[in-house]
């Protein structure tokens, strides 16, 4: 029988020590080599950004990713869109008794790979094992610490009428990949998550642009592009006009959304950057994102003076509609 997580792995004794040593330290390395202390002692810059997020995705594996890379990318991206250079992550694991050790090892390996890709280190962590049924396989919390270089000031209030809204690539792949991976839709499509770190995209923007020309950034996760656009409109006191045709959606993703009656604007992404930049810096920003490997960067909209707080989208034949905040979970329509 393959090795599984038991309550003993969370009891703080030998099994715990073995788990930490063999699974976590092996994958992440020790913050202060040779010593496992209660906290990692770190050298950070003067201006720091600090964030935390918990990951409870089900299933824990889906095409193109797992809860492991998600837990790293999500937190790295939250730091990145705050203008911070991500440095250190913590990782807290809540494991359901019975999870196979091999599965845990694979997820942890995904975390290590994602951390390496993003250039961050996982330096502290915690493990709890709960009885069967008290958690769904595995929950991960990560917190992230980064430094914010001088001159980086971001906020919706900095967005000015005429500024350009920029998006780094096709939307809605992550949410649809997970939905289909749940396997209860009788719908099969080759849709892979877009889970990826976007910190290098943010750095590329700052290298190409005057820092003051980068006004606002977001990583459109739960609630999708529509939700962050609404936060932008409400926070800026202006309107946001999006161009339907300029927002890329992969064909398979669009097909699945259409079939299920879901608007891709509201579907989660885990590796996309939305930014507001000064209008005259828009082309430079798109080129910089392109050069940094963004899959399909482009200008997708504009800040308009008003009506205050409104997000609208204009379609190819000139019709305009409102884009409101998402209400509840997106449930499919029936006919």
């Amino acid at each position: 029988m393959s090795e599984v997580i038991t309550l003993a792995h969370g009891a703080g004794g030998k099994a715990t020590a073995k788990l930490i040593d063999e699974v976590f330290i092996t994958a992440f390395g020790a913050a202060n080599p040779g010593e496992l202390a209660d906290a990692a002692v770190l050298a950070t810059g003067a201006r720091s950004a600090f964030t935390t997020d918990s990951y409870v995705v089900s299933p824990i594996r889906f095409p193109g990713g797992s809860i492991g890379d998600l837990a790293v990318n999500g937190t790295v991206n939250d730091l990145a869109v705050s203008g911070a250079i991500a440095q250190y992550l913590s990782a807290g694991f809540v494991i359901e008794e019975g999870l196979e050790m091999e599965e845990l090892g694979a997820i942890v390996a995904d975390m290590a790979a994602a951390a390496a890709a993003a250039g961050v280190r996982i330096v502290t962590g915690d493990t709890k094992v709960v009885p069967k049924g008290a958690a769904d396989q595995l929950f991960i919390n990560t917190a992230g610490l980064g430094t914010v270089p001088e001159g980086r000031e971001l906020g919706a209030t900095r967005a000015q009428p005429g500024d350009a809204v920029i998006l780094s690539g096709p939307i809605a792949a992550h949410g649809m990949a997970v939905m289909l991976a749940r396997g209860n839709l009788a719908l099969e499509a080759d849709i892979r998550t877009d889970s990826a770190p976007i910190n290098h995209l943010v750095e590329a923007l700052y290298q190409a642009l005057d820092p003051g020309d980068v006004r606002w950034m977001r990583d459109p996760t739960r609630g999708g592009l529509a939700t962050v656009a609404n936060e932008l409109a409400k926070g800026s006191g202006h309107a946001v006009l999006l161009e339907d045709e300029a927002i890329p959606v992969e064909t398979a993703v669009r097909g699945a959304c259409d079939m299920l009656g879901i608007d891709p604007l509201y579907v989660a992404n885990e590796g996309r950057l939305v930014a507001v930049v000064a209008d005259d810096a828009a082309q430079a920003a798109v080129s910089a994102l392109q050069a940094a490997g963004a899959p399909q960067p482009g200008v997708i909209g504009q800040i308009r003076p008003g009506p205050e707080g409104v997000v609208a989208i204009r379609n190819a034949f000139g019709g305009t509609r409102l884009v409101d905040m998402l209400v509840g979970d997106p449930l499919p329509r029936i006919c």
Binding site: N184, L260, A316, G318, T320, R321, L322, G328, L331, P332
Partner: protein, 375 residues
């Protein structure tokens, strides 16, 4: 994407809009067309079609949103079923948020511990029944002739496989009776119909001949992409220009005059017409709903369980009935956007994305002037 992109082609849309404007100017009168289907309402608002058409063409939203026409008493019955020990209640996602009396919904019942699951097809519900032989699985069935054939197929299969722990709480309804009811309503000035494309795939375009023959109004059976709807408007205006009044089929790529004979045969085999059925906003309409035929009664949840058959008056402030019959625009309802929002709906029209109120609330609250600011 094939079969979708060509119906969203911007150039073709622009040309159609110009043609519609020209025709509308030439006719020189206001024309009110009812789009029967909630799917049409959704497309109209989602693509901003209303602002693109001349003001002389007005859309009136009809009763064809299957979730919207379910009376609160039936939702209460479903909540009662979900609360029975050992029951797994399954239904389409849209039904999960529909409030019954006291504003309780299946989603809330689920959060409180009831086993409520949403499915994309009744066959999924049957599968849940086969996977859980020690539980009673009830499918809360809603919908017009679009969805009733899939329920029928499922019941036949349950019979064939002998899945005794499966039953159907049927709320299936027919498309013709509410249209007759609306056409019988005085004071509703209609000039034609954008006909229900999906229902027509089953019942056929000929099913709607009574509209020109008995009520003197044109109808165009219409698909659900923006170009479909624009083309239907053009066809309706052309009928006025030519002095014609008939059933036309814009959705010929899927709709046949006689519909789907196999589906119709199955409906006849599995279902029987109820003497009467309650519709939200329309009240009781004779011969408008499907119950299970005697041969399949052992799969009838209303017989298997002592369903209370609750009757629940609509919320006194709710004007869904007037919206569903096209007598009131969503924003004219006294609770629209105030007491009744998609987050906290009072009426069914605010729940389903195909409900006129939700479609208007989510997409449409940009009047011509505001939309012009974005042009």
């Amino acid at each position: 994407m094939r079969f979708v992109d060509e119906y969203r082609d911007p150039q073709a849309a622009k040309e159609l809009i110009v043609a519609i404007k020209r025709l509308s100017d030439r006719l020189g009168r206001k024309l009110r067309f009812m789009e029967v289907c909630g799917g049409h309402t959704h497309t109209i608002y989602r693509h901003g079609l209303e602002q693109l058409l001349p003001e002389a063409v007005e859309f009136v939203h009809g009763p064809g949103c299957p979730v919207c026409v379910i009376p609160m008493g039936r939702v209460d019955d479903a909540l009662w079923l979900a609360a029975q020990p050992g029951v797994i209640l399954t239904t389409f996602g849209d039904m999960m948020r529909v409030p019954g009396g006291h504003k309780a919904s299946l989603l809330q019942a689920q959060a409180a511990g009831a086993d409520v699951r949403f499915v994309y097809s009744p066959l999924d519900a049957l599968k849940i029944a086969r996977d859980n032989p020690d539980r009673q699985v009830v499918f809360f069935a809603v919908g017009f002739e679009t969805t009733s054939p899939s329920t029928a197929v499922t019941v036949v299969q349950a019979d064939r496989l002998g899945v005794e722990n499966f039953s159907v709480f049927s709320n299936h309804v027919l498309i013709r009776p509410p249209l007759e009811a609306i056409l019988g309503t005085g004071g509703l000035q209609l000039d034609g119909f954008i006909g229900p494309g999906h229902v027509a795939t089953v019942v056929g375009s000929d099913h709607f001949r009574f509209i020109p023959a008995e009520h003197g109004l044109p109808i165009v059976i219409t698909g659900f992409e923006p170009l479909d709807i624009l083309q239907a408007v053009d066809m309706l205006l052309s009928q006025y220009r030519d002095g014609r009044c008939e059933v036309e089929n814009q959705y010929a790529r899927v709709v046949l005059p006689g519909g789907n004979p196999e589906a119709l045969r199955l409906l006849g085999e599995v279902f029987t017409l109820r003497e009467t059925f309650e519709w939200r906003g329309l009240g009781y309409i004779p011969l408008s709903g499907y119950g299970l035929a005697p041969r399949y009664q052992r799969f009838d949840a209303e017989r298997r369980f002592q369903v209370p058959g609750r009757r629940q008056a609509d919320h006194p402030a709710c004007q869904c009935g007037l919206v569903l019959t096209g007598q009131l625009k969503p924003w004219e309802c006294r609770v629209f956007g105030k007491g009744c929002t998609p987050e906290d709906p009072i009426g069914t029209c605010m729940v389903s994305p195909e409900g006129a109120c939700a479609a208007y609330f989510n997409y449409g609250r940009l009047h011509r002037e505001a939309a012009a600011a974005f042009a």
